[in-house]
């Protein structure tokens, strides 16, 4: 089962608001892997900005990142780095 999951705390000052969400999608699209993001049990596509916005992920909340594909490890670390950058 090639799939990676990791918990990450959102450190972005304004949370996953439109601009950071657009940035997140841009990073996610660099990878071939399927990417999903979960908050409070709701999973959404990590390459969809509108879906990410519906999570209303504010600063300090916890997300689960999931990547599935040939570059899953790289994808997870890039996205994690983005979300936890202070």
């Amino acid at each position: 089962m090639g799939m990676v999951r990791e918990k990450v705390k959102v450190e972005l000052e304004i949370g996953l608001h439109a601009r950071p969400a657009a940035e997140f999608v841009k990073i996610a699209e660099r990878f071939k892997s399927k990417i999903r993001v979960c908050k409070d049990g709701i999973w959404v596509n990590g390459k969809s900005i509108l879906s990410l916005l519906t999570l209303a992920a504010e600063k300090g909340c916890e997300l689960i990142l999931e990547a599935d594909g040939i570059d899953e490890q790289e994808a997870i670390s890039a996205l994690k780095k983005f979300l936890s950058a202070k």
């Binding site: 304004i14 949370g15 439109a18 841009k26 596509n45 969809s48 900005i49 509108l50 209303a56």
Partner: protein, 584 residues
């Protein structure tokens, strides 16, 4: 109907009188249209084509906004493109068409509605305000589905009008046609929201933050938007309209006359030149500054970059922006002031009891070295244009310059090793805005290439007076003899050490200030672009000796009242009427 005055936040000058057009967008009601199975492939194709065409349009608008208003503002459109090309939304729409066998219009509007409702239900306001933009996109794509040649039915009036709305999306702002939109009044928004920034760039009279605007204007036909005073006047009386027309006529006449000569040099009657440059915050302002005859940018504030995003813009992003401004201003100089956070420019998530005496300006930067280095590296890289200078805010100790110089030298080494082009001789200057820096200016001048006096903060720190505090705001006055003495001392010490001295506070743009500063032999005055033509006009009527006489005299008074009284009397005697030279 009776006249009613509503107050808001003034965003952009001048007034407009006209018919009100209320813009209250709603999600379109699209009727469910069943399709036959053989029609489904065609629906899917139509939908894909509509997205592609819309995307092309959006990209074009992005380019246009970027060219006209700069990359920073165009960023708003980028996000809308991300909404439009959202892969999940596209996939869900296609699935919907196939499963339910319905028209593309219906499927798309249903899917968008789901997201819209979901977002609107979120408690946090920063998430809600995006719903408007999603809206725009939905409307756009649906128009495209109906008619692929059609552009927009968003906000394109064909007759002159004033737009009243809750808020406007960046896309709407970007396509606004100045020919028809004579003014904007909104319920939402602040001075630094995207709407305000774009309204300023387009020079449309605008007032934002008007409470209950739509409620009160429901049955009103005509109104005045006064972007100078921040007022919306519903059903204005004849008298009121006359007053505004007269005011506008006078302002326009004076403006025309003075702006026509904005290209000239700033030269006194007796032939002394002085640099008049502009204070700016955004890229588009560089273009305006040049139009108004600025011979440089005396203060490029960079905090907006940080405050608008609430996060550090990347080195690359900063580099592009600095370079863009520098290239636009060639052959004139651009002084980039490093981040001046703290004070009234609050650092998100950080609180202090006494922010003006706290962790601000250079102090903040020197304790966040990564942050500071990123900016300095971006500035150095941009300095390949050879017209950039660096300026440090809030310097109050010698070691702040020494430390910064050390960092700069290390960065220069690093760039050299990587063979990256930059200006080896880039000038480093400091803001003089604390009494301690004035008292040490003789020493500081030996460590840097120029001084720029920040008269607003220097006044505040010298008089120990917060201008924002209503109870004591009247004590704040840069014509206080104590402040004038410090300014004089700074200029004297700068010149003694062979460096030039400028001033970039509000005082520079006030006629009285200009006269006193000229008399103190200031080398440069930096001000908001629209004041420049007026300052040049005034300077052309002045004699250096006359200004010197005034400058000598004013520092010997002991109160502001005495200074002002003397100035008025002396100017009258000389036949100089200041009203002629002030903006509005």
């Amino acid at each position: 109907m009776k006249e009613r005055i509503l107050r808001g936040i003034p965003v952009n000058g001048d007034f407009s009188y006209g018919e009100i057009k209320i813009y209250l967008p709603e999600l379109p009601v699209i009727e469910r249209k069943e399709k036959m199975p053989y029609e489904i492939p065609q629906e899917l194709e139509r939908f894909e084509k509509a997205i592609t065409l819309s995307r092309e349009d959006f990209e074009r608008i992005y380019q246009k906004v970027r060219d006209e208003m700069g990359k920073d503002i165009a960023e708003f459109i980028r996000i809308q493109i991300a909404f439009l090309t959202d892969e999940t939304v596209i996939k869900e729409t296609k699935d919907f068409i196939e499963k339910e066998r319905v028209s593309a219009e219906y499927a798309y509007s249903e899917i968008i509605k789901r997201y819209y409702q979901n977002l609107a239900s979120k408690a946090h306001s920063v998430f809600i305000d995006k719903s408007l933009e999603i809206f725009d996109i939905c409307l756009y794509v649906i128009e495209k589905l109906k008619d692929s040649k059609k552009g927009f039915s968003l906000l394109q009036p064909t007759e002159k009008c004033l737009i009243f709305a809750q808020s406007l999306s960046p896309m709407n702002m970007a396509i606004l046609d100045k020919k028809y939109i004579m003014g904007i009044a909104l319920e939402m928004g602040g001075k630094t929201s995207h709407i305000s920034i774009m309204a300023k760039a387009k020079e449309i009279p605008t007032v934002v933050g008007v409470e209950n605007l739509l409620h009160f204007s429901a049955n009103v036909q005509k109104a005045i938007i006064d972007g100078n005073r921040g007022m919306v006047i519903l059903n204005p009386t004849e008298k009121r309209i006359k007053f505004y027309e007269k005011e506008k006529e006078e302002i326009t006449k004076r403006k025309k006359m003075i702006i026509a000569k904005s290209e000239r040099e700033a030269k006194t009657k007796d032939g002394k030149y002085i640099d008049i440059s502009a204070n700016i915050e955004f890229v588009y302002e560089a273009i305006i500054a040049k139009e108004y005859g600025a011979k440089g940018i005396g203060l490029f504030r960079t905090e907006y970059l940080f405050l608008s995003k609430r996060e550090l813009p990347s080195e690359e992003e900063q580099y592009q922006l600095y370079k863009e401004v520098a290239e636009k201003m060639k052959p004139y100089f651009v002084i980039i002031r490093t981040f001046d956070l703290g004070g009234d420019k609050i650092i998100p998530g950080y609180f202090e009891d006494n922010p003006f005496l706290g962790w601000r300006g250079i102090r903040f930067c020197l304790s966040n070295l990564d942050f500071f280095k990123t900016q300095l590296r971006a500035i150095l890289r941009a300095s390949q244009t050879r017209n950039i200078k660096i300026m440090l805010p809030m310097v109050s100790n010698i070691d702040e310059i020494i430390k910064t110089k050390k960092i700069l030298n290390d960065l220069k080494e690093e760039l050299k090793n990587k063979n990256i082009d930059f200006d080896e001789n880039i000038e480093l200057g400091i803001m003089i805005e604390t009494p301690s820096s004035v008292l040490l200016s003789d020493v500081l001048a030996k460590l840097c290439n120029f001084f720029s006096i920040g008269s607003n903060d220097l006044t505040q720190y010298t008089l120990a007076c917060d201008r924002g505090n209503e109870k004591i705001g009247n004590l704040f006055n840069h014509y206080h003899p104590a402040v004038l003495k410090l300014i004089k001392e700074t200029i004297k010490n700068g010149h003694k050490n062979g460096i030039w001295v400028g001033l970039c506070g509000e005082m520079a743009s006030e006629p009285l200030g200009t006269i006193i500063l000229l008399g103190m032999e200031i080398d440069e005055l930096s001000m908001a672009p629209q004041f420049i033509p007026y300052a040049k006009e005034l300077i052309s009527f002045l004699n250096t000796d006359f200004c010197k006489e005034i400058a000598e005299k004013v520092i010997n008074f002991s109160t502001v009242a005495e200074v002002i009284k003397y100035l008025k009397k002396r100017l009258k005697k000389e036949g100089i009427f200041l009203e002629k030279y002030s903006y509005v």
